[in-house]
């Protein structure tokens, strides 16, 4: 991926092709436990105590995206595509990468398509996906 880096900005200022700075995370047991409790997932533990729900990787990607770039209040998630080529386990160190795949504006609202990947240290992808978001443009909508 190439393009200008998105750090310390708001989503409203992002442009097509812009990249988010890669963010590295360790999948700690505490964070995974907190995620499983939040989503009330009663199925994942049956597959093994170290298993991580695949959607946790998507949450991790969101966490990375909004770490340095502010999401406008009132932002709405319209669509999501995700694929999980391999399972991950607690303790793994992963890197989230993302870029603005497309951007449009209509009737005072911005529409963003964001491509995301989560990969291991050896660059093996463990999740890839695309989020479609919309949020209001204009004064007073960013807090």
């Amino acid at each position: 991926m190439t393009g200008p880096r998105a750090t310390g900005e708001t989503f409203a200022s992002l442009v097509k092709g812009q990249e988010f700075a890669p963010v590295e995370f360790q999948l700690s047991a505490d964070w995974v436990d907190a995620y499983i409790a939040a989503v009330d997932d009663g199925a994942i533990r049956a597959l093994g105590s170290d298993r991580v729900p695949p959607m946790a990787l998507a949450a991790l990607a969101v966490k990375a995206l909004i770490q340095d770039t502010r999401l406008p209040p009132g932002a709405i998630h319209l669509g999501q595509e995700l694929s999980f080529p391999v399972p991950v386990e607690i303790g793994e160190t992963l890197t989230v990468r993302a870029r603005i795949a497309n951007r449009g504006e209509r009737q005072g609202w911005a529409l963003l398509g964001i491509e995301m990947t989560v990969e291991r240290a050896d660059a093996q992808p463990v999740m890839s996906g695309r989020a479609t978001l919309t949020f209001p443009l204009g004064e007073g909508v960013e807090g």
Binding site: H77, E81, L82
Partner: protein, 132 residues
Amino acid sequence: MSGAPRPGDQLPALTKLVTQEKITRYADASGDHNPLHTDPQFASSTQFGGPIAHGMLVLSYLSELMTVEFGMRWLRGGRLKARFRGPARPGETVQVSGRIRRADDASLVCDLECRNDSGEMLITAEAEVPFA
């Protein structure tokens, strides 16, 4: 389901209660503290009229349904394509259900949906599971 999955087979439905506590927990885990989810005063000024759950929180219920039904197959190559069609609000019970649309030697494709207790559609999705 019993035996080989076939087109038309229903997946066992999953029911979840959405609460503000779960929304707050999800906000903490994901770092997404958008006030649309966590600030009733702000949320009441939006078109939703009050707080709504993160779409990814509700989408996780669809993934859980796939985990229940397909286990490690879902974790080893699952794909999900979803559209968020309506908000889930705290206090609502949502039901996730699905049906197999296509099955062959390589994979199967399911149509999933999530509705609230008024029957309103919240999410529609297509999920693919490798079946080799």
